[in-house]
């Protein structure tokens, strides 16, 4: 039957064969679920083989990666756009998230078509395809939001919407309206994309956007803490069996990454300013320009800081989900120490003090809301390598006293 189906598809012309092919895949998947529902299949064995007919159809009629049609070996960019459009429409019309996820998994599960996925998601953002973004969000979580593939996806989105087409940034701004889960995972990925190492700062537009999101919707950063519908993931269990288990125990949120941004930003700013001071012969206009961007940056990051604190506070302490580990904290402290070493006279530097204050706040709130589990000595170990800061000292005293 599978061969018959393939043969039939091969008779069709280009856009048609993709459309019909997608339908066939879905049909096959639903049959498969019935079959597996009947208990005929052992999870983790059947689905992952490459000669899976659904996979075969996807490769041949969606991505056109096959040796069988030499003249179709590569799609032109316009044809690719056509495929993307078909896919978008298909996901758009698919209201059943289970089926959508199953299809998504067949198409992009093995990450072989990352490029197409990136473009598809980018297009999905523009045309507001909810189910697609939901699937993408789940995919990101399964892969691990900070792992290379999702990071690449997010980088592409940032490039597309923040750098290449600034006029389309507003589209990205509406992301939470399309999929909160995707937005949350997007933030997680993006923070790992711009770790503030060296001069690599996140684009201003991006920071602005994230700040706005968080301030408007404090719960946004915690969406990933609510686990996705198990039945949705079930389909993909075969593929991600091993990955899915730790996912359930350890969830990634954008909070550590965003906190990292807020704490490190003033220090990086300081380093840049020092560098500019060393470079003489600047015109007054340039100096003014840098001063402007500096104050703008400072503002936006303190706003972001407020947003993060609010997010953390909004967590219901009774549910007490852990979104931060001491490992994250030590990593953060290490980065901060490294940056502080480049700054002369750190104890009297405003930026350093701001950074340390934020660090303290962050620690305190996380601990207070139950997002962080720590031992007594952890804070003092943390503060060992840091310059003195009044707020941190008070915190230490409190911890010791309690």
């Amino acid at each position: 039957m599978d061969n018959l189906r393939l043969h039939y598809l091969q008779q069709l012309d280009f856009p048609e064969c993709t459309k019909v092919g997608l339908q066939h895949i879905e049909e096959y998947l639903s049959q498969g679920s019935q079959r597996s529902g009947g208990g005929g299949r052992i999870p983790g064995l059947g689905g992952s083989t490459s000669d899976n007919p659904a996979q075969q159809i996807a490769q041949e009629f969606v991505f056109f990666h096959t040796s069988r049609r030499p003249y179709h070996q590569r799609l032109s960019a316009i044809q690719e756009l056509q495929v993307l459009e078909i896919l978008c429409n298909h996901f758009h019309e698919q209201r059943d998230s289970k089926k959508a996820m199953a299809l998504f998994d067949v198409l992009f599960g093995n990450a072989g078509q990352l490029e197409v996925l990136c473009r598809l998601v980018s297009m999905g953002v523009a045309v507001q395809c909810k189910s697609l973004l939901y699937c993408a969000a789940i995919w990101m979580e399964l892969q691990g939001c900070t792992s290379p593939n999702p990071t690449k996806l997010c980088k592409m989105l940032v490039d597309d919407y923040c750098l290449l087409v600034p006029s389309a940034t507003s589209v990205l701004c509406g992301l939470p309206h399309i999929s909160r889960r995707f937005t949350c995972n997007f933030m997680t990925s993006v923070t790992s994309l711009y770790p503030f190492s060296g001069d690599q700062c996140p684009p201003y537009a991006l920071v602005e956007m994230i700040t706005e999101w968080i301030n408007k919707d404090p719960g946004l950063g915690l969406v990933s803490l609510t686990p996705a519908d198990k039945s949705v993931i079930q389909k993909t269990q075969g593929r991600y069996g091993q990955v899915a288990q730790p996912w359930l125990s350890k969830v990634q949120t954008p909070i550590p990454g965003l906190a990292h941004w807020c704490i490190v930003a003033p220090l990086t700013q300081e380093a840049i300013r020092a560098k500019l001071d060393n470079r003489h012969g600047e015109t007054a206009m340039e100096t003014e320009h840098t001063n402007n961007t500096e104050s703008k940056n400072l503002q936006i990051y303190s706003k972001l800081n407020v947003g993060i604190i609010q997010t953390m506070v909004s967590v219901n302490p009774e549910q007490s989900k852990i979104y931060l580990t001491m490992q994250d904290m030590f990593l953060l402290v290490k980065t901060v120490t490294g940056l502080i070493q480049q700054i002369a006279n750190p104890t009297e530097n405003d930026s350093v003090q701001t950074a340390l204050d934020r660090l303290g706040q962050f620690f305190q709130v996380a601990k207070g809301t139950g997002g962080l589990q720590c031992d007594k000595g952890d804070l003092s170990r943390m503060c060992q390598s840091l310059p003195s800061n009044r707020f941190l000292e008070i915190l230490q005293q409190q911890t010791e006293a309690s």
Binding site: S76, A77, I78, Q79, E80, L81, Q82, L84, E85, C88, C118, R119, L120, S122, M123, A126, V127, Q128, D159, D160, Y161, L163, L164, V165, P166, S167, A168, S170, V171
Partner: protein, 912 residues
């Protein structure tokens, strides 16, 4: 542009539905599924560009077809002569303009993000279009590079594209120029010949950056490929694709931005020598060498400009760098060296400098502080070069079409190299000699002979002589006739006007000839030698005898003395003899004893050579006699000026300057339109020229001069006889005249000729010059002539000696009979009228009488072997009466002489 500005700015927010619609519209339009008008399609494309970032690939691809179509229309218009009205594709231009406006604004707003995308897109599209339409008729007839550029620049689409590309370049060049240059290089590799105009255009927009970047990219690529395949790196360098396009691009820019390229190359090289150079930069030198191997233009820069920068310091640094470099395998450095050698053989204009440089470096005498490795390497390079050239040059015999630029270039500098050979001596001689040989072989016989001639006439030391001999041996294998040609060239140079170092040149020749004489090779008769070649040029050398510089003259006479002369034409003989005699008397005037001695000994040699032919000896005799009696020379040979009967002012005119000035003209060839003789008697305003004070000679000097003169005359008269008895001459060559005279048979013919000469010079008229003794009465008629003869003899006492010489011949004195008669008559008249008791009281007359009698005694009575003489002896009885009476009265003591005067025949006293 209006659409662009509002699109680029913060536009309104579009709903997802709108976007979806536009996508659908665009896809359908561009895949021709449904008919969508061109403008609408363009509109939706630009809409998507603004709103749907992931669609940009598709939009750009669509724009590709739009541009392509526009170009197609343009080419069609060219082909068909614009019969296609613009209505067929009405709005393409506006679409193009709109989209380019959009793209431009994108570049301006966010160059970092957009410029790389658009530049690579536009460059690729340009490459595609230019190669696609290259075969079309419209493009074909734009054969030249500039016409092609013109054609594409008039096309809206391509012009827009190239504007976009240059805009991208302009915005990227500050931050990350590598990106765009890389794209350019890759496209250039891909679409090679058709893409050149793009490179040229962009290159001329940003010459400096493009050149340096292109070089850097090439270097990186070279390093990468070089390191990845280090074993076969050198051989496969030609396969590195970017190298070729680097060379191509630089080639395009060379025309207008040659100076920039030069600077960039130099800067690259200089940077690589900095102490903090990176590993990448350290392979600059091999990179440059490889570049040069692929382009003659770059090679030219390398050989002309770089050689100047190679100071000892830099060379040492380079050496250090090569040592430092990680494990330069032996193979590697070998192939690099062979590449260098190859490049040198290919080098053109700068070749001379390069060779000069290498020679300088390898020269141990030069005082530059060089690392020994550098010196050794240069020596290896030079040696390999010489070997290579040898191979190529000799192989070229089979295939004369092979070009060898280095030799071609050296050809023009060959003479400088020769000078180098002469001035720097031993250290570089071996290599230079070889090198010159190959230049000579390469550039044909005439140049070869030029080179050889140069070496020949400049060789002073034995080293240079050996160089000449080596070169001759080598060249003779190729050009058997090289030696005569060379000698001809050398002689021609000698005669060039105002050649100041003629003496040196002659000495060079002399050295060779002397060497030939002493060497064993001379024995093999069939070998062509310089001296044999010189035989054809004797007159030319002889003219140098009249040179004003005594050293030149000496060299010339020395050279002449070394050459064996063979038969010459009369005119040549006359010229040679004339020059020689003039020189001879000039020598006599000289006060430098050493000079005189050496010159005179040479003169004798020359005369010996000359007198091989009777014509020459006669001519020489005549010239010698004329010279001796010429009033300016008379003093030299003991002539008394006060006796010359001239006024005092004339006496001082011993050196007629005008004559000398004219003689000097003969040294050089007469040039057309140049004056070949001088006519002037002084400088206007100064009156007549002041005359030099006559020189006064000592008796010894006079004697020596006389001896020298008579020596020459004697040799002339010996003729071939001397060659039969050379030992005598050799033994006392200094004084051939003394004592030996009777041991050698002088030629009667020569003596006769000498006698006739003497008569001609002394007897002023031809009143009676017959051999017969005239009637007594007749003596009265010739009184005036007799006095004249006597006076000539008085003012030229050397004539007595000449007559002495003549009298040694068996019957030659007869020819002087009129002189003898004249002098005799004068003396008899004196003695008749003299009232002195003692003959001693008039010593001059006494001496003259003695000498006359001496002469007559030697030959008188002459051996009666001719009829004339027989008749002459039968003189009138009345003259013999007195003698007969004297003999009769003293018959007891003088009886043995009777037979000498009176024949024993009975009829002897003939009654009249």
């Amino acid at each position: 542009m209006a659409a662009a500005s509002d699109g680029a700015g913060q536009g309104m927010v579009y709903t997802s539905q709108e976007i979806q619609d536009q996508v659908r519209c665009f896809v359908q339009g561009s895949t021709y599924k449904s008919k969508v008008s061109c403008e609408e399609l363009a509109k939706s494309a630009l809409f998507l560009l603004r709103t749907l970032p992931s669609a940009r690939h598709a939009v750009l691809e669509h724009l590709c077809t739009v541009f392509d179509e526009s170009v197609n229309t343009h080419v069609l218009q060219i082909e068909l002569g614009s019969t296609i009205s613009s209505t067929a594709m009405p709005n393409l231009d506006s679409v193009i303009q709109d989209s380019s406006g959009f793209l431009m604004s994108f570049i301006k707003i966010n160059p970092g993000a957009w410029a790389p995308i658009i530049s690579s897109w536009s460059i690729n599209l340009l490459g595609h279009i230019s190669s696609k339409y290259a075969e079309r008729r419209g493009a074909l007839h734009a054969s030249g590079f500039n016409e092609l550029l013109q054609m594409w620049m008039t096309c809206t689409a391509t012009k827009t594209l190239i504007d976009l590309a240059s805009e991208c370049f302009a915005s990227l060049i500050g931050s990350s120029p590598d990106v765009c240059v890389d794209a350019l290089l890759e496209a250039s590799v891909k679409y090679s010949p058709h893409f050149d105009w793009v490179v040229a255009h962009l290159g001329s927009c940003f010459p400096q950056t493009i050149i340096t970047r292109v070089l850097m990219c090439g270097l990186k690529d070279f390093c990468y490929h070089g390191s990845s395949q280090s074993d076969a790196a050198i051989s496969s360098v030609q396969n590195i694709p970017k190298m070729a396009s680097v060379v191509g691009i630089l080639g395009h820019l060379a025309g207008q931005h040659g100076q920039d390229i030069r600077k960039a190359l130099l800067a690259l090289f200089r940077d690589s020598l900095r102490p903090d150079a990176e590993r990448l930069q350290q392979s600059t030198t091999p990179f440059l060498l490889h570049l040069a191997s692929m382009s003659s233009m770059l090679l030219h820069v390398l050989t002309t400009d770089f050689v100047h920068t190679l100071t000892p310091d830099i060379l040492n640094k380079l050496a250090y760098q090569f040592v430092q470099q990680k494990s330069p395998s032996l193979q590697d450095s070998k192939s690099l060296l062979s590449l260098v050698v190859h490049l040198i053989t290919k080098s053109g204009e700068g070749a001379y400098r390069v060779i000069q440089f290498l020679l300088d470096v390898t020269d141990l005498n030069c005082e530059k502080e060089l690392v020994p490795e550098v010196r050794a390497t240069c020596a290896i390079i030079l040696d390999t070069l010489v070997l290579d050239l040898q191979r190529i040059v000799h192989r070229r015999c089979a295939d004369p079409s092979t070009e060898l630029p280095i030799l071609q270039a050296l050809q023009s500098n060959a003479l400088k190299l020769c000078t180098n050979l002469v001035t720097h001596g031993d250290t570089r001689q071996k290599r230079l000699t070889k090198l010159l040989c190959y230049v000579a072989i390469y550039s044909g016989e005439s140049c070869a002979s030029d080179i050889l001639a140069h070496v020949l006439i400049h060789s002073r030391e034995i080293n240079e002589l050996s160089a000449f001999v080596q070169m001759t041996t080598e060249l003779e294998t190729r050009y058997p006739d090289i030696l005569p040609t060379t000698v001809g060239v050398a002689i021609n140079k000698l005669q060039q006007f105002n050649m100041l170092d003629g003496g040196m040149m002659l000495k060079g020749l002399l050295n060779v000839v002397q060497w030939e004489r002493n060497s064993v090779h001379q024995d093999s008769k069939d070998k062509i030698s310089v001296s044999r070649c010189l035989q054809d040029h004797i007159p030319a050398i002889a003219t140098q005898l009249s040179h004003s510089d005594p050293i030149t003259c000496l060299a010339a006479i020395q050279l002449l003395a070394e050459i064996r002369m063979h038969k010459m034409s009369t005119s040549n003989v006359t010229r040679i003899c004339g020059a020689f005699v003039t020189f001879f008397f000039k020598v006599l005037k000289s006060k430098d004893a050493v000079y005189v001695a050496s010159a005179l000994s040479c003169c004798r040699e020359v005369v010996k050579q000359l007198t091989r032919s009777p014509t020459a000896s006669n001519t020489l005799l005549r010239f010698l006699m004329e010279g001796a009696t010429a009033e300016e020379n008379a003093v030299l040979l003991g002539g008394r000026e006060q006796l010359s009967g001239l006024s005092t002012s004339d006496i001082n005119q011993l050196e007629p300057a005008l004559l000398n000035a004219n003689r000097e003209h003969s040294v050089s060839l007469a040039l057309p339109r140049a004056h070949s003789s001088v006519f002037h008697a002084g400088i206007i305003g100064q009156g007549l020229k002041t005359r030099a004070v006559g020189l006064l000679l000592t008796k010894e000097k006079e004697l020596a001069n006389k001896q020298a003169f008579l020596g020459l005359v004697w040799i002339c008269c010996c003729g071939n006889a001397q060659s039969q008895n050379p030992s005598v001459l050799q033994k006392d060559g200094n004084e051939p005249f003394a004592g030996t005279i009777h041991n050698i048979r002088l030629l009667p013919a020569a003596l006769n000729y000498l006698a006739k000469c003497l008569v001609e010079l002394t007897a002023p008229d031809v009143v009676y010059n017959a051999l017969h003794w005239p009637e007594e009465e007749f003596m009265k008629v010739t009184i005036e002539r007799d006095l004249q003869i006597k006076k000539t003899f008085d003012s030229n006492p050397v004539l007595w000696d000449v007559m002495d010489l003549i009298s040694t011949g068996p019957s030659s004195l007869c020819f002087c009979s009129c002189i003898i008669r004249g002098i005799m008559a004068t003396l008899i008249a004196y003695w008749d009228s003299s009232r002195d008791k003692m003959a001693r009281n008039s010593p001059k007359q006494l001496e003259a009488s003695c000498r006359l009698l001496d002469c007559m005694a030697k030959d008188n009575p002459p051996i009666p072997d001719t009829e004339d003489i027989q008749i002459a002896r039968d003189c009138d009885v009345k003259y013999t009466q007195t003698i007969r009476a004297v003999l009769h009265s003293n018959i007891d003591s003088q009886g043995q002489h009777y037979a000498r005067f009176f024949s024993a025949e009975p009829h002897q006293p003939q009654p009249q």
